[in-house]
């Protein structure tokens, strides 16, 4: 399923600052797309618009040929799954219970998850190596574990598209590596992934497309090896930006 962003503009209510101005882009099926940009450049706003949590002031978002605002909420949840920056808002629900919540769009109002669906939870937990967390409360998990659990919940929703708002922001290097590797594997299965990040290296690691936002406009939308160029990034992140090869010290990163 492809996503088309057409003339998209957005301003927060009761403010005059335009957050996003006339965005146009076409996101192809089965690609990973990293939204890069400074704080306040509109990354989160764009992801939330794509998730239908905000209504555009102008322009439209299309999932295939369907206008997002005309897709009913239940249908939307079968098209995309969304993870917010805070990953989960509650802390006293068991992980295994939380993971079943993604099935709600396939169940009638009086139904609860079937045995097959509960088996799927166990299967995905094994696959993502979080089976030890299943009987814990969400509040007992570390930031990284929470993030992985919320991605697992997204996958159980079984949508062709995943929208993730800064999934690595709260994570240490090890967990960043884990989450990014996971997203790369997911994309290999043909799903479309759109995530926002503060780190241009992530897009290189994922070998993804980059949507580079600058002051609410798309500065560039291309493959990461074309966007993550020192002269392009300096326009956004400032002139002190340099390549690791130009550094006097050795920088750490993770292997591809």
């Amino acid at each position: 399923m492809k996503i088309k962003i057409k003339n998209l503009s957005f301003t927060y209510a009761r403010t005059t600052k335009v957050v996003l101005t006339n965005l146009n882009a076409e996101i192809k099926e089965g690609t990973v797309n990293v939204v890069l940009g400074l704080n306040g450049s509109g990354k989160t706003t764009l992801i939330r618009l794509l998730a239908g949590l905000y209504k555009p002031d102008e322009g439209d978002i299309f999932y295939d040929a369907k206008r997002l605002t005309s897709i009913p909420i239940k249908e939307r949840s079968k098209i995309f799954a969304y993870v917010s920056q805070h990953s989960v808002s509650t802390d006293d629900i068991l992980v295994k219970d939380f993971l079943t919540f993604g099935f709600v769009n396939s169940l009638k109002f009086y139904e609860s998850p079937s045995k097959e669906q509960i088996a799927k939870v166990t299967a995905i937990a094994n696959k993502m190596q979080i089976e030890k967390l299943l009987n814990k409360n969400l509040g007992e998990l570390s930031g990284g574990e929470k993030q992985i659990v919320s991605i697992a919940a997204c996958l159980l929703q079984n949508t062709p598209i995943l929208l993730l708002d800064e999934p690595t922001s709260a994570l240490d290097l090890k967990n960043q590596n884990l989450v990014l590797s996971l997203l790369r594997d997911i994309a290999k299965e043909g799903k479309t992934v759109i995530l926002s990040s503060h780190n241009p290296n992530h897009s290189l690691f994922l070998n993804s497309n980059v949507i580079l936002l600058n002051n609410g406009k798309i500065e560039m939308f291309d493959e990461s090896n074309k966007v993550v160029q020192i002269d392009i990034l300096r326009k956004i992140y400032g002139n002190n930006l340099c390549l690791s090869s130009d550094l006097a010290y050795k920088e750490v990163s993770f292997k591809n």
């Binding site: 808002s89 509650t90 219970d97 709600v104 609860s112």
Partner: protein
């Protein structure tokens, strides 16, 4: 449902049955089990007094206590889930204060008890509608605004209540208002139960049917919506049911504090936070707790102790115990 929940559920259903029978036996006129069976299952004239005590006095108030316990614990749980706040109780959106205003107007006007209940119910519902309406003015849709609006409207209603109390005759109507607000099952009749029972039954059935789905609504707007739930619709439905439960219970029995706060906490502590498990248990635990409170309120002293005094006494002690227990588990983590 897991094994633990099923065990707790079956145990509490048995406890419900035992406490229910016990409530018919215990009181200022004690009845032995033999006399109980003779009075209920035979038409022997010798047991006429026992029969009358059981069927006319104790049965209506025990059923009423059970229904009130179920209604208040369920609505407490619903409010806590929807507002994602474990410290809210059923009167959050002003329903109890509103009902008190309705009842006190009826008392001051000298209306009969059925009109007291009717006005209490109506004003209780109107108060919640007012709360929702004021929250809507902010066009924000967040639960915090609704909560704030509830505090504002409850404040408004309680000042009206003060005014009515000020106007009331201190010897007669003021005493009645104060007594009404402390809650009692003393004047329960089967006719009241015929009205209340269907309300509680239908609400309970709806909640049991939706019990799993309420989990997702309680995640909040964003998460519920992206998982495919029509959040607004379900939130208003649940607020409506919770309000209906509280206002119909309060209308007949006066305000009863603490139970809506304490029972959901006890239940969550036992089986965790999952409405598929907590809703059925709130029904049994709420009923049992309220019947015990009623037994205590009518057998501790020669005169009846108001319900809120008993629920408050036990509620606060139990609540401190829960918080202490929770603190211990928090420390261990």
């Amino acid at each position: 449902m897991n094994k633990k929940t099923i065990i707790v559920l079956i145990t509490s259903i048995l406890a419900f049955a035992i406490i229910f029978i016990a409530a018919l036996l215990i009181g200022r006129y004690p009845i032995s089990i033999d006399d109980f069976f003779n009075a209920v299952f035979t038409s022997d004239a010798e047991y006429q007094i026992e029969r009358s005590v059981i069927l006319n006095l104790r049965l209506p108030r025990t059923i009423m206590a059970g229904l009130a316990g179920i209604g208040l614990s369920l609505s407490g749980l619903l409010y806590q889930e929807i507002f994602q706040n474990k410290l809210v109780s059923p009167d959050l959106l002003g329903v109890s204060t509103g009902a008190s205003v309705g009842a006190s107007i009826a008392i001051v006007l000298g209306l009969s008890s059925i009109f007291i209940s009717f006005l209490a119910f109506i004003v209780g519902i109107i108060t919640v509608m007012l709360t929702v309406l004021i929250a809507k003015l902010f066009k924000n849709g967040s639960s915090t605004i609704l909560l704030l609006s509830g505090i504002i409207v409850a404040g408004f209603m309680s000042s009206i209540l003060s005014y009515i109390k000020y106007l009331a005759n201190p010897e007669t109507t003021l005493a009645s208002i104060t007594y009404w607000m402390m809650g009692s099952f003393e004047n329960s009749t089967m006719n009241q139960i015929y009205i209340l029972f269907p309300v509680i039954l239908i609400s309970t059935i709806i909640l049991l049917v939706l019990s799993w789905r309420i989990n997702i609504v309680s995640l909040g707007k964003e998460e519920a919506q992206t998982k495919g739930i029509n959040y607004k619709y379900y939130r208003y439905l649940i607020i409506f049911i919770a309000t209906l439960l509280t206002s119909s219970v309060v209308a007949f029995n006066g305000t009863i504090s603490w139970i809506g706060l304490v029972i959901p906490h006890i239940v969550r502590l036992m089986v965790g936070r999952n409405t598929r498990r907590t809703i059925p248990l709130c029904i049994t635990f709420g009923g049992v707790f309220m019947i015990i409170v009623d037994i205590l309120s009518r057998s501790f002293t020669d005169s009846e102790i108001p319900l809120s005094a008993v629920t408050g006494l036990f509620g606060t002690v139990i609540f401190v115990a829960i918080l202490l227990y929770r603190r211990r588990t928090f420390d261990e983590n």
